[in-house]
Symmetry: C2
């Protein structure tokens, strides 16, 4: 069989880490007789500077014909004033997530053996965050009035629908049901964000009825950040909205050894469009092109990609190779490709 893969290397360290992910991915699926067909797309800040394009309709249409998307990272150097701030993030990355209906933004957090957590006593950390990916404060609904004057008013509207919340909550319960501890924690701020918060809370109560084997609890987002650093072992499956999920998953990455290891999947569970897999980290322009970036997060994103497409044996083999590599890291510097080579060799 064949995987018809779209590859968006992007900016900065994106191309470097994606090269290693492809190296590992190709070897793992070849061993099972699967052909990896790749179509590369030039998109991102560099591409915008060259062409003024963010994500043309034809490109989006073409991406829809692929089985899945492997995504590196996008974003210009922080000081680059030639690019309107946030335009690539919104008109390319978020446009992909919204257009392809990536409603499950899946972000696993696991602390491997000796990898440095900044916590003194991290304990066992092994949870997943199911972050809603297509609504909430990310919808781009807002505006400003009398902009730039002392009378300016700026709004941001968080839009939440029963349809959108229910499908992601059900996904979280399904994932919890397949895990050992079978526990879902809803994170929100329903004592302040009453309308959205209660929609989430009611939905969790309702969906929980379908999963009697799964327990669940609730945390305000502020309290959740406290537990993230004082007792992360308590978490199994966290389900939360787009913005709280953004915040919590960066924190979760930090306590499990850094964003060099944090993988994510932007998943359309209904398979009406290809899902997209990307490291949580950004394009890190400061170290780009220097073979300094850790490709592990990109490689683990390829694992999520294989899982999504049903190639679970290949996924487990890469995962085992990554864990073996990570657990024996001694803090010494290795080049991006050396890490990729080591993991590919261990397959």
């Amino acid at each position: 069989s064949t995987i018809n893969l779209a590859v968006i290397p992007g900016d900065g360290i994106g191309p470097e880490v994606i090269a290693e992910a492809l190296k590992v991915l190709e070897k793992a699926v070849a061993a099972e007789g699967v052909v990896l067909e790749q179509t590369h797309y030039q998109l991102g800040a560099e591409h915008w500077l060259a062409t003024g394009e963010t994500l043309p309709d034809e490109v989006l249409a073409d991406l829809r014909t692929r089985d899945a998307i492997l995504f590196g990272a996008v974003g210009a150097a922080p000081g680059d004033t030639r690019i309107p701030s946030g335009i690539i993030e919104r008109e390319m990355l978020l446009k992909l997530r919204f257009s392809l209906d990536h409603y499950v933004n899946l972000r696993p957090s696991r602390l491997y053996g000796t990898v440095g957590s900044p916590l003194a006593n991290p304990g066992t950390i092994d949870f997943i965050v199911v972050r809603e990916g297509t609504e909430g404060p990310y919808v781009g609904n807002g505006g400003s009035l009398r902009t730039g004057t002392p009378h300016e008013v700026a709004t941001e509207v968080s839009l939440n629908t029963a349809y959108g919340v229910e499908r992601v909550v059900r996904d979280a319960f399904r994932r919890a049901s397949a895990r050992e501890r079978k526990h879902v924690t809803l994170v929100h701020k329903h004592n302040v964000l009453v309308y959205a918060g209660h929609l989430w809370k009611r939905t969790v109560e309702a969906v929980a009825q379908e999963f009697p084997e799964v327990t669940h609890d609730y945390l305000h987002v502020d309290a959740a950040t406290i537990f993230m650093v004082t007792d992360p072992s308590r978490f199994d499956v966290i389900v939360t909205d787009n913005l709280f999920g953004d915040i919590l998953t960066d924190l979760a990455a930090a306590i499990t050894g850094g964003i060099g290891l944090a993988a994510s999947g932007n998943i359309n569970m209904d398979r009406t469009a290809p899902s997209m897999f990307e490291p949580v980290h950004g394009s890190a322009p400061d170290i780009a092109g220097q073979q300094k970036a850790d490709p592990t997060a990109a490689i683990l994103s390829a694992v999520l990609l294989l899982d999504h497409l049903g190639y679970t044996a290949a996924a487990r083999r890469i995962e085992a190779a990554v864990i073996a590599d990570v657990e024996t890291r001694d803090g010494g510097a290795r080049s991006t490709s050396a890490v990729g080579d080591a993991i590919a060799a261990a397959l």
Copy 2:
């Protein structure tokens, strides 16, 4: 002279920790010939259960006549279904913050000597968060349509004004200017929350012109949580909106030894109404009435209160007594009043 103090002990551990704060406060100001006149107000979840009142207009009017408010904590036990969720928080605590125009929600974070941070290498932590207190996602502007049906839509509107943002940003720069490192970090998410984010960013750029001695930078809220656990020493003054400030200050409390030590001031810098000082922690119904709560956060909130009223000598004396006490803690359990007694004795 006289301090005409309003005291709202509230629920759970509120009365216990406030008793110790008053003990210390009274002794500290008496030494300077200042009389502490107290008016106690019964408000909170217990009071609501007894009377159905959250914050009657007459009580609010009466509170306005005081010099400052010392606030304990409010909130019922999590499982208590007799109280509509969040009603006390919104109709009492947030109503006070909004009605009395507490636009500076000041939350200092400092790691004292031996007090346990969950971080392996916390380094020196000494920053303040200036959290906006009167607008943003906290305005209660939202709604829901077709509530409880599969077609429900729920919104939350974040309202941000040039007036509201500018005054709190200027306050942050003023505070930074008086500190050693003189550095302001704006935390927001302007790549996604474009309208509110750019209002904040433009305002910081403009106000920064008035403070050439103060440096400033910007972090997305997700990145800020990473630095909070990997490099908290980098922060001096953080200025941010109401919701991001809520999240960051709980995390900041956690990394500096827990919410047992985290103080806050809800400050009206224009002095058109009394400011309110409260520990960041909640009412902790599980340990209420058992003399288990740490009154330190309440006592440090009294320090902020004295600073606000201009009794800086008394403030410094309490602060020194607290630091001496905290730095010699050995993890042994002391009762709430034993901690208050020790700090009062050390004055």
